[in-house]
Symmetry: C2
Subunit: 152 residues, 2 copies
DNA sequence: CCTCCTGATGAAAATGATTTTCAATAAGAA
DNA sequence: TTCTTATTGAAAATCATTTTCATCAGGAGG
């Protein structure tokens, strides 16, 4: 595993170990799929792609790995409007970004334009809200809904 | 129906008619439940409360009414983290507000503090994003996640 | 009021994503 | 290599939501 071309893979490898978990072929496949895509994949889509890497992997393992990675804060689970969950790596090449969600085709588009202004406001809000509501804020979600260019 | 004490009920009544739909006892019950609660109810919870008003109503009608109201833009469907949807009237006494979502008990807390600053930024973002991504924005979602006071 | 056309409804069955069960397997520490 | 136990795949179970279908009732037009 010393020549892994997937940036971050080793880190995740270590994080699994650190939590008392084992790194397996299935988990590596899921992580690799997430690292190589630019999209926001569903469990089933991850399954298809992971099968190319590891033909014996089962859908159950996809769900279990995704769940584990979510708990570890390494993947974000998104809601695109259709009923299935969609996932993305929390620490990919893309930095902190938010989403435009198409109500027609459910596609999720990343944006990080003007994100600094957004984050600045968010930080202020967090401070004020957590004090007023005695609520320990650990994350936020911002998305805009509408119709994407392809669907117009 | 002239002495209805539920503000907005008549308006909704009219909106149904205007769309070629009928106003029925079931729909009135669902609307009443939504108007009287301060919480963010699930379909099943709305079902229980609606039954008190109209014992013969079925869960299916709850879903169908909620769906119709959503399409009409009269209710917002929320995602609280547990798997079922939660609903709130779009035009209730509460004005435009956003949410704090407890990751532990899934409770949804309304806030409208500092909402003006948020909305101002949102409007700017909308303008810039819709131009850059050729995306017709029709709504937004902002929520903060964390642990509520009761769960700490 | 009475009729008629259709939209609306409830019960039951179907759906579909996600979870659980369970016996078999394989990390990886020693 | 051994041994403990986390992990796995297949199949069954869940469970919120949707669909089907025969029946019912809103309300426009008489
Ligand atoms: Mn993204
Ligand atoms: Mn609310
Ligand atoms: Zn689209
Ligand atoms: Zn809570």
């Amino acid at each position: 595993m010393k020549n892994c071309e997937c940036p971050g893979a080793e880190k995740l490898h270590g994080r699994f170990r650190g939590c008392g978990y084992r790194m397996t072929a299935g988990r590596e496949a899921v992580i690799k799929v997430l690292q190589e895509t630019q999209e926001h994949l569903s469990a089933d889509e991850i399954f298809s792609k992971a099968r190319v890497i590891n033909p014996d992997i089962g859908l159950t393992t996809i769900y279990r790995t995704l769940e584990k990675l979510s708990m570890m804060g390494e993947v974000h689970k998104l809601d695109s409007g259709d009923k299935r969950g969609r996932f993305e790596l929390a620490n990919s090449g893309k930095g902190h970004h938010h989403h435009l969600v198409c109500s027609r085709c459910n596609r999720i588009i990343d944006y990080d334009d003007f994100i600094d202004d957004e984050v600045r406001l968010l930080k202020e809000m967090e401070k004020k809200l957590s004090k007023k509501y005695n609520f320990a804020i650990s994350g936020h979600l911002i998305q805009f809904y509408g119709v994407c260019d392809k669907c117009k």
